[in-house]
Symmetry: C2
Subunit: 333 residues, 2 copies
Amino acid sequence: MTPRKPTLHDVAAAAGVSIAAVSFALRDKPGVSPETKERVLAVARELGYTVNLPARSLRTARYGAIGLYLPPGTTRLPYYTEFAFGAVDAADRLGLSVILLPHRDPADASPPTASVDGYVVVDATTEDAGIRGILDTGRPVVSGEHVVGADERVSGSVVYDHISATTRLLDHFAAAGARRIAAVLPPDGAAWSEEVARGYADWIARHDGVAITRRIPFVPRPDDVTAAVDDVLANEDVDALVVFPSGSAAPALASAARAGRRVGDDLLLAAYVDEPSHALLTPTVTSFDLEPRDVGAACVALLVEAGDADGPADRVRITQPRLVVRGSSARER
Amino acid sequence: MTPRKPTLHDVAAAAGVSIAAVSFALRDKPGVSPETKERVLAVARELGYTVNLPARSLRTARYGAIGLYLPPGTTRLPYYTEFAFGAVDAADRLGLSVILLPHRDPADASPPTASVDGYVVVDATTEDAGIRGILDTGRPVVSGEHVVGADERVSGSVVYDHISATTRLLDHFAAAGARRIAAVLPPDGAAWSEEVARGYADWIARHDGVAITRRIPFVPRPDDVTAAVDDVLANEDVDALVVFPSGSAAPALASAARAGRRVGDDLLLAAYVDEPSHALLTPTVTSFDLEPRDVGAACVALLVEAGDADGPADRVRITQPRLVVRGSSARER
DNA sequence: CGCGGCAGTACCGGATGTTAT
DNA sequence: AATAACATCCGGTACTGCCGC
């Protein structure tokens, strides 16, 4: 019923050559005459031959697979899904598979079991047992953003220039007339927290302004945002506000409305990380498109180069977030 | 420098037995005495032995991997990410890996190349070249939701009871006093579209009501939602509204506000698919938690059973969405 | 004698049927 | 009748060497 999948032997027999010749022909290696190669390829196509990857892996000790580790607990953020598919598509173009790795509970110190040639991780910290396990495999690892606590242990990273981005955003506010700009920041400890905090502080210092900041969790509940924004609006004389953590835009808008502020007019607002909802809120919310697909693809590219001889030219690739200006920061007339 | 990874041979030599004995001992197969087994296991642990998966795959023709195919173009919906990790965690507990499959462009008719024992697909239609390729492999396929156009070709499915869910939602509205309930539906063609449309129509008929419906795209732009909801509110005398497609809640709330309706009071509103934003909007929005993690895990379980001898007891598993009542449908006082 | 083109073959690491003890 | 050693095989890869010109 099921005619066994054709193997190199079948192709070799059908083409009247040795399996070695077939193997070479299929992989476009020198040592076979153009005519034989042509014939072998024709026969292979006709028989529907495809390589048996386990067999190849066994021989070459390469797996044709990349392990992808997304941060635990944040699976609702669309950023990571986009990132994942950027990586998957890039890997596919290189003939590689992407294995989605499970999150390990902190007690579990066992090494990751999947057979992969290297890893791509995002927003990683060594607090995470899964990340430690990955670093301990000794295989190449490329990270999206820096790895907090072990940046020298990865083969490469694709990072955002958050300082420049923050600067551009504040310049944009200033150009729209903002004079007193507050920032609702994530807590220290995450890779980008410190960069954006520094970007903000430096910009304020350069412009002889007053730093007005509040801290809320990395993934805040609406109440956290509301409390911080209410506090800023009640106690500080601000005409612009940046909320950095994800999911902050909607509660911030609500707070502004309650405080009687007209967002986009007497209060300029921006979120940092773009989310689909930003285009749906009223007013629409200015934020940075981090182009996660491109970054995911870049991580895969860097990983593959790291596996190649003598590594890539650059260990760190820097990406500029793209500012998407929307109604919340576009002062009316 | 790198002490080659230990193999069966190494363990066998260190334990003073044959590789066959080691192989049997490690897989807990009969034919080795308890003492030898104990010793072998100890040596294996000490040497840090792990099986070489390609070698095992080569011999057994099993890959220890599952291919996961998420619908293209909807990668921003958190549902699928949750689903994916439900599948990954379930697979991990069974010692399996999950390979995230790339989306194929329609022209590409080549079979999927990844080596997997079976596939999990979600919200699939045979319009999708990727799905056709997967079905053509002849390997077991389990689908989350029915596969439009090829439901008999899959080994199993985990589906929601959308009719019962829709009924429960409308009952909830009625209990809160709603008399004229409108529905903004997705277009026909998707698996659940027809079920929810039927659930709505049947319920209305049973209650001698008037069906008031509009159709918008499966993944609507805010404008689509706004237009439909504005139209309903302007031209129909409704006191409750269900918006089914994802991402509809926020624009629907905005429309209601513009029409001068107080949502949760003189207009009851519910979305169908729960999203994180529903807990953040004002008012918060009632919707169904589809528990995607559980469904992803169930798909993997069903796939593994399908691979076993004589298949699973049931080909189709039915799940009840969990209604999460929030402010938008909880009439004040 | 050198060289291109190809056949022959020794692995890669584990699973399993067969043969000793 | 139980255990364990031995031999094969899974499908490729890559090295060695033979052949003819």
